[in-house]
């Protein structure tokens, strides 16, 4: 019984959250923060598959989030929205169709990962960085040229799907879906990576030549790994789009990719629990630094000397976060967890969980 303690704890926690959200014990701001944590966990753990477990250096993960966001938003509007004409599907089916829409968004994102995974066969790490950055820019640029999805002005209308769900039952639907998909993401990644099949990814990272000679089909595994990572990022994008109700290509540019990278390298390459922990810390930091009061407090010695300067929290945030990562690189480059998992650092915890 003890072995399922962590699982039970998580279920209780999730139900508690949903409860609190439904009965307005926690307000919508906190709900959004929680949902952002979930999405960030999805982004950092999925990028970790590629940058951590496989040891590649890609810098364009937001491209997949973008594709997932747009595809699922378009489908959403076709099925339940009014922007492209009458909704195609009855509103009652939304509870079943919405996750399918998200998964389709993820699937398209997974397919698009071929743009980066196929070049990775022949190239060294620096080159793959360039290719991934270029793909990120290309996808954004392509969408900006597509007027039927709003181009650079952005796209909206998918909120109708969320309203359709609320019409069925007035509850915290998006929180519900975020929790489910976050758990799904971690579950898929954990099971993939801990199997002997998934360990082929680590083998490629540690010695690709040996992996190839020891019967690992390195090209195929690279493709599959990229697809899993991109697919999950695509689902995260779909969720993001439906929470905000509006997407814009520039939301998925190199800055968003950098956010994902910061989380991965902060948490420790290859460590699943590290990626989760750093996603939580990172989101927390972003929220803390959003408060102008706190930023003013932190910068008070400087503003004391230059009283005319009024730093804006939104901007200072993006000075402090890269600075944090620079400091991490200087003093603890392996990140919070290194390449170990929580169970390796605290062996006693292993008593309380068993992830099959």
């Amino acid at each position: 019984m003890k072995k399922y303690s962590l699982n039970m704890l998580l279920i209780v926690f999730a139900i508690g959250l949903l409860f609190a959200a439904h009965f307005r014990i926690i307000d919508s701001y906190i709900q959004i923060v929680v949902m952002t944590i979930g999405i960030n966990i999805m982004m950092s753990t999925s990028l970790n598959l590629v940058n951590g477990n496989m040891g590649e250096f890609t810098c364009g993960h937001a491209a997949f989030m973008c594709i997932g966001a747009y595809i699922s938003s378009i489908l959403s509007v076709f099925c339940f929205g009014t922007k492209f004409g009458a909704p195609l599907l009855p509103a009652a089916s939304v509870v079943i169709v919405f996750p399918i829409i998200l998964l389709i968004g993820g699937a398209v994102a997974a397919l698009s990962s071929l743009l980066v995974s196929v070049p990775s066969f022949k190239t060294r790490d620096d080159y793959l960085a360039i290719i991934s950055i270029a793909v990120n820019y290309m996808i954004i640029s392509a969408i900006e040229n597509m007027d039927f999805v709003g181009g650079s002005r952005g796209f909206q209308g998918m909120k109708d799907t969320v309203w359709a769900m609320i019409d069925i039952f007035d509850g915290p639907w998006m929180l519900f879906w975020v929790i489910n998909f976050t758990v799904f993401t971690v579950w898929v990644i954990r099971r993939f990576i801990s199997s002997t099949y998934g360990k082929g990814v680590n083998a490629i990272c540690q010695d690709e030549v040996a992996a190839e000679i020891m019967s690992v089909n390195t090209n195929k595994i690279k493709i599959i790994n990229f697809m899993v990572a991109a697919g999950l990022a695509g689902c995260a994008g779909g969720l993001y789009a439906h929470i905000i109700g509006y997407v814009n290509p520039q939301s998925f540019n190199i800055l968003k990719s950098t956010e994902a990278m910061v989380m991965v390298y902060l948490g420790g390459m290859g460590s699943l629990s590290g990626a989760i922990i750093s996603a939580v810390i990172f989101t927390g930091l972003l929220e803390v630094l959003r408060s102008q009061a706190i930023v003013d407090g932190l910068l008070s010695p400087i503003t004391f000397m230059f009283p005319d300067w009024e730093p804006s929290a939104g901007v200072i945030k993006w000075v402090m976060i890269p600075l944090l990562l620079v400091i991490v690189m200087q003093f603890r480059p392996e990140g919070i967890m290194g390449n170990r998992e929580l169970g390796d650092v605290f062996p006693k915890l292993k008593k309380f969980y068993r992830f099959k």
Binding site: W187, V188, R191, F192, S195, T196, Y197, G198, K199, G200, N202, A203, Q206, D207, V209, A210, A211, E212, I213, M214, S215, V216, N217, T218, N219, I224, V228, N339, K356
Partner: protein
């Protein structure tokens, strides 16, 4: 002297015909031919830069030959990537040990079964019956192999923490876990001290007698080659300059010239 366990009437484990490899203006391998039968233990020797490792790289599929054909177990391996050649039955070790240093010893053996896992992404995520069954089988076989090689006690250890000689043994064990018909050993004695070399000779001989595998080895340690191999091929500047039994090679004038140089220089 090595025992002769050769089966002369069966399909050659490896047949190489007119193998030529050119890198730009340099001809690394020139019209190389070899036929290895099941059960043979052959040596490939030659001075540094003679092209020995290039031949191995060609046979294992890392390079595609400029000319010539390679047949493993009677099947052409033209254009095959290394993992496919391994699937056909050729396993290989490297001059500089290439173990996966951040994975346990047991995992090193298990991951080498990758081609024969019998399940893919879906099953590993869903943890189906097929997955559980295969994982149990693979773990069992891996543990048995470790026991056979007396490495069982290191199963959860990381290879980088093991002594060099043990790492070498592990690399060979990992190669054997792919059930090869042909085992390519690239300078297995490199970096070993004299007592480890003696252990290596014993190990390779024991493998040859107990596993159904043909062994082809590149070596610079003459005592290893002369002791173990029943046939030796000598190569210099990418071309075969001599072949025969250890005794024949020992006194072959071309071989001596290749290694020690000409009196007339």
């Amino acid at each position: 002297m090595a025992q002769t366990l050769v089966q002369t009437d069966s399909t050659p484990v490896l047949e190489v015909r007119s193998l030529t490899q050119r890198f730009g203006g340099l001809t690394a391998v020139n019209d190389f031919n070899v036929k290895l039968l099941p059960g043979e233990m052959t040596g490939l020797i030659g001075p540094n830069g003679a092209g020995k490792t290039t031949v191995f790289n060609l046979v294992s599929g890392f390079y595609q030959p400029t000319e010539g054909q390679i047949l493993v177990d009677g099947k052409l391996t033209a254009g095959f990537k290394p993992h496919k050649v391994t699937a056909l039955g050729v396993a290989r070790t490297f001059q500089n040990i290439r173990l996966w240093n951040d994975m346990t010893v047991l995992d090193n053996i298990r991951v080498a079964q990758h081609h024969w896992l019998g399940y893919g992404l879906f099953h590993s995520v869903v943890r189906s019956k097929r997955y559980l069954q295969r994982e149990a089988e693979i773990a069992k076989e891996a543990n048995e192999l470790l026991e056979v090689f007396d490495l069982q006690k290191f199963a959860d250890e990381l290879p980088k923490n093991l002594p060099y000689g043990t790492q070498r043994k592990l690399e060979i064990a990992r190669a054997l876990s792919t059930h090869p018909k042909l085992l390519l050993l690239d300078e297995p004695a490199a970096g070993l001290n004299s007592s480890d070399v003696k252990d290596l000779i014993r190990l390779v001989r024991w493998i040859h007698e107990n596993f159904d595998v043909s062994i082809w080895m590149i070596e610079h340690h003459m005592d290893v080659v002369m002791d173990l191999c029943n046939q030796i091929k000598v190569i210099d500047f990418g071309q075969t300059i001599a072949e025969g039994t250890p005794d024949e090679i020992r006194n072959h004038p071309a071989v001596i010239t290749a290694y020690l140089g000409d009196d007339n220089i």
